[in-house]
Symmetry: C2
Subunit: 169 residues, 2 copies
DNA sequence: AAGATATACTTTATGCCTAAACTAAATGAG
DNA sequence: CTCATTTAGTTTAGGCATAAAGTATATCTT
């Protein structure tokens, strides 16, 4: 994805890798293909309809329904990006009047970010479209299999999480 | 994902979107989470072990097993990125001696890219590790369900492709 | 109280990615 | 043949992403 920074390996090339791990490589390539396709379409829609980007939308999504705002440091964790990356994104959302950033009175290192009324309006308008776009993109996939796929992906996610945590320990 | 440029919306926020499309949004969020997790780990490994990036690896993967090389214009299509993006990546791979880029004698607009012997060696070394890393990341996911997941993702990919092609028509 | 360590965040350097504008070469129509 | 169009690729401007280094504030240790 921006950034994407992901691309696809041709199926043929699997033979160039360890034959025993074909299934795992295939899962990865399919994940990448699906995410790229859907992500490209969502990004295009966001840009054309709202002149907005997905990372900015993601920040608003975190702030929506946090009536008192959020400690800035929560955002990198929830969005799985580095803190340095968020600085300019938050800067621009503040400039655009969609969120506020104020220092905590308790700890001058800490900043609290909070959506403005305008930000909330903008987010809700975009979120509605966001789910419609997704519904339309996935319309040809059988609805009956959606929940099953969610479960499989949940299990996959947890398996990967466990594997990475083990590796670090 | 290039970068990626993808982040995650909290589950809670689905209520802020159209309730009818929850399942589709959930699939998207899970796809994003899985791709981000795996991608981050692969990127880290590529950097630490080989001082290499995934986009560079992906280009080599396309060129591996194309003994006579590839028309440059094929790469953007296969890797699902824009042509402009590839120019500097190909430039650097040429500089590093991993691939060559030569003009076609038939059409002076066309360039042919081809892996060097050194590039082939480098790719095979990295590809082996790449599949091992993936196998280890997915090790805790039941092997018996891998093929089923591949099929689901294939169907999903094709469904999304059809939806986007229809939308353009 | 003073110095070491930890935390919150920003800055810098580098690379990926896109869209849109641009260059050069080939093709097609009259 | 000439001009318009198409095609292959590069360039530009701008945003996203990372890792690593830096700044400021808080906390902990003694």
């Amino acid at each position: 994805m921006a950034g994407k920074e992901f691309a696809l390996i041709d199926e043929e090339n699997i033979t160039g890798e360890d034959a025993d791990n074909r299934a795992q490589v295939r899962v990865w390539l399919r994940l990448l293909a699906c995410t790229s396709l859907i992500g490209a379409e969502l990004r295009r829609q966001f840009r054309e309809e709202f002149d907005f980007t997905m990372p900015r939308f993601d920040v608003l999504a975190q702030l929506d329904r946090e009536p008192v705002g959020l400690v800035l440091g929560e955002l990198p964790k929830r969005l799985m990006v580095t803190a340095g990356n968020l600085t300019p994104i938050v800067d621009r959302l503040v400039e655009d009047g969609l969120i506020t950033r104020s220092p905590s009175p308790l700890d001058r290192r800490v900043q609290i970010v909070c959506m403005t009324a305008e930000g909330r309006r903008a987010f809700r308008r975009m979120a509605k479209k966001h789910s419609l776009w997704l519904a339309s993109l996935l319309a040809e996939f059988p609805k009956a299999r959606l929940d099953g796929l969610v479960r499989e992906l949940d299990d996959l996610k947890n398996a990967v999480k466990r594997a990475t945590e083990e590796a670090r320990a």
